[in-house]
Amino acid sequence: MSAPKFSTLTSRCVVLPVQDVDTDQIIPARFLKVTDKLGLGEKLFCDWRYLDDGSPNPKFVLNQPEARGAQVLVAGHNFGCGSSREHAPWALVGFGFQAVISTMFADIFKGNAVKNGLIPVVIEPAAHAALVAQRAGQPDLEITIDLKSQTVSWLGQMPLMFPIDPFSRTCLLEGVDELGYLQKFQKQAEAHEAAHA
């Protein structure tokens, strides 16, 4: 019953600056025949990450040495578009990611992400470009995300504010469970039903 909690994180990052990455790439549909959330991390970005013979594609960012233990994904514009599958954040979290940085997220993905303790961090294109460029020369660059102050920072970069829904932020900081919150409104829901019957 516990809701995922988050406060602050400092970690290396993986950079995948491709724009319009859809949830079919994050987790292909053939892996959606699960009835739980287990094992999806291994299938994350499966068709980019593994070669046809099933061995890791050495060119793909998740297979490079710096990716090991990285908890932040720096992604391109409009990350998570397409299907509503929550398997996408489940796979990202299953791999070990706790935050994704982009210049824009698709709506459904963003909503699904926060419910699983995965922080969608939106920054300006210029800052994003600077981060990608700096990380290119500094593979072990660490990024700090502080949810309380809603800031993201890295070496040489003053903390940047990022927007996040205040309710989502509270839920993440305090471990509030959304279903539990919704259940408090059952009387009002009944009143609505009575008024619209």
Binding site: A3, Q19, N116, Q188
Partner: protein, 493 residues
């Protein structure tokens, strides 16, 4: 968690103080979206999203298992089974029977059956003669009605907006929320009018309208917004065409797309099994007539397109916004100023094995797929069969026709459409999502190129390594006959 809950409640006071009893009358002009939203607000606490009432919850096998698990863990039941409808569509075989599905698929299908049974939820199972794709059977059975809030753990729930309802996709956590409470926490989105003026020319369809809209705004252009489609070309579409347009709203990033209800809408709904009847029908229609956007209501954004200039559209890339008129050459990455966009276009063209600047007409085709919640209704099959009649699918092409529901299949067979498809050497199947998502064994082999009437051309969407060109049913048939990407208009004269 307990502490968190208390803290939040203390800060905002007793939720009951914020109860909004029903519809708030207001004299200011409102959009269709605004009217539906306002009349479904259950509660609003400061700092929290709106608690929105959900009239209809559609459930399928892929995005519901983990939600039912949460209910089980917490000892909860589905709160309003009568407002919940389950169907099997994504991983069901289109050859008939459980046997064709793989083991994980079978487990998922059986689990949906047992979850539905345990909760008293109506299910359109494998043996149902009305089973079909969730977004086809909702309207077909009369569940989908104007003015409703409709959700499903499926992004193409936007389809139902064609009836002047607010339909949108949700994640599995939210599926659990709705199952347990019939409510959803939502921030109010912005609105965007998508006005399609003018009249379509022959050979150009609803699918071409939405592909042209997507080519104009891109796959992120509608993010944060709900679309309302307006204009003469939208009013002229039949309900199936409106569903095709609304279906692909999510492909522009908009969670919902809507069309104001009119007599066509009411005529479509009237007499269907779950539609209101008798006095309730008259009352419902009177209410539905108040839903269209008021004169003077404003949208946050407006996009316009002239339907009379459109040609058949096809996609050339790996997202639905990468579309061109079928007679046009493929775009040049060098024409794009933005480095990321340029890289995106280069990546797409490389995956599709297409060359910039070359025509898309004439590209060899391996598979043609007629189906999916975008284009698998009886009107789509009629249009396709009309063009295919007396012709043959090219020898090198495999054409699959997958009706959106078993009801559509039976209706098509009653009209003899199946005979036309079979005579043309197309494969006539049972209903399901099939090759739209390739979860049931219907899929492309690596490298194969499909012209598909579905909604997504993402890398590998129709099978790992497969390449997808999205098009209308007419363009799909013309391409099947030619064995190459072909313009349907010459076949129509």
């Amino acid at each position: 968690m307990e502490r968190g809950l208390r803290t939040l409640s203390e800060r905002v006071g007793d939720a009951a103080l914020h109860l909004k009893p029903g519809f708030q009358m207001s004299s200011s002009p409102k959009t269709l979206f605004q009217k539906i939203w306002d009349s479904h607000v259950v509660a609003e606490e400061p700092g929290a999203p709106t608690v929105l009432y959900i009239d209809l919850h559609l459930v399928h096998e892929v995005t519901s298992p983990q939600a039912f698990s949460v209910l089980k863990e917490r000892g909860l039941k589905v709160r309003r089974p009568g407002r919940t409808v389950a169907t099997m569509d994504h991983s069901i075989p289109t050859k008939g029977g459980y046997e064709a599905a793989d083991e994980p698929g079978r487990i998922q299908l059986r689990l949906l059956e047992s979850n539905a049974q345990a909760n008293g939820v109506r299910i359109y199972g494998l043996d149902s003669v009305q089973r079909g794709i969730v977004h086809v059977i909702g309207p077909e059975q009369g569940f989908t009605q104007p003015g409703m809030t409709i959700v499903c753990g499926d992004s193409h729930t936007s389809t139902h907006g064609a009836f002047g309802s607010l339909g949108f996709g949700i994640g599995t956590s939210e599926v659990g929320h709705v199952l347990a409470t019939q409510c959803l926490l939502q921030r109010k989105p912005k609105t965007c009018e998508v006005r399609i003026d003018g009249a379509l020319r022959p050979g150009v369809t609803a699918k071409d309208i939405i592909l042209a809209v997507l080519a104009q705004i891109g796959v992120g252009g509608g993010t944060g917004h709900v679309f309302e489609y307006t204009g003469a070309a939208i009013r002229a579409l039949d309900m199936e065409g409106r569903m095709t347009v609304c279906n692909m709203s999510i492909e522009g990033g908009a969670r919902a797309g809507m069309v104001a209800p009119d007599d066509k809408t009411f005529n479509f709904v009237n007499g269907r099994e779950f539609a209101p009847q008798g006095a309730a029908w008259d009352k419902a229609v009177a209410h539905w007539r108040t839903l269209p956007t008021d004169a003077g209501a404003t949208f946050d954004k407006t996009v316009t397109l002239d339907a009379s200039t459109l040609e058949p559209m096809v996609t050339f890339g790996t997202n639905p916004g990468q579309g061109v008129a079928i007679t046009q050459p493929l775009p040049q990455p060098s024409s794009l100023a933005d480095a990321n966009e340029r890289a995106g276009l280069e990546k797409s063209l490389a995956y599709m094995k297409f060359e910039a600047g070359k025509p898309i007409l004439g590209q060899p085709v391996d598979v043609v797929f007629l189906g999916s919640c975008t284009n698998s209704r009886i009107g789509d099959l009629r249009a396709a069969a009309g063009l295919l009649k007396g012709r043959k699918v090219a020898k090198n092409v495999r054409m699959m026709v997958v009706p959106g529901s078993q009801s559509v299949k039976l209706a098509a067979e009653a009209e003899g459409l199946d005979k036309i498809f079979k005579a043309a050497d197309a494969d006539w199947r049972e209903a399901g999502c099939s090759m739209c998502i390739a979860m049931n064994g219907d899929q492309l082999s690596p490298g194969q190129l499909a012209v598909s009437t579905s909604n997504r051309n993402f890398e590998g969407r129709q099978g790992k390594g497969g390449r997808t060109v999205l098009a209308s049913p007419l363009t799909a048939v013309a391409s099947a006959v030619a064995g190459r990407i072909a313009d349907p208009r010459p076949l129509m004269s």
